[in-house]
Subunit: 84 residues, 2 copies
Amino acid sequence: METPTIIGLTAGTLTTLSLLPQVIKAWKSKSTKDISLGTYCAFTIGLSLWVVYGIELNSPPIIITNVVTLILAVMILLLKIKHG
Amino acid sequence: METPTIIGLTAGTLTTLSLLPQVIKAWKSKSTKDISLGTYCAFTIGLSLWVVYGIELNSPPIIITNVVTLILAVMILLLKIKHG
């Protein structure tokens, strides 16, 4: 596997899974006051459009990474809406 | 401009600028307790690797979007480190 591909896969994995600690923290603490609702609304819409873009291009990497990130982002958004 | 390109540009703009409300909220409130340090550490490293990936591929869109997001993510990370 070539270096750029390794870098791209590592980057994608990190940015995709980076939301996991925030989901766990919000889930456990039930405290989301400092989390920006605007950020996660815009992020969720943006990620949804990335999934549509990936489908249009028939690109599994774009679809998969953004669906996983979208699921985590929606979880944070729901926790934010629930806990305020 | 073709539909997929418009969708991709919109998605990129939204996910790139989505961090802006979080930067403003953290800057104003000086309260970052609920923000996950792990998320922004992983996110910052991941974005840095996306910039390297963009340079390797000589792809301005990948470089520009991820540099802008990286700047915003680093600002949140610094505010988190400062305010705890």
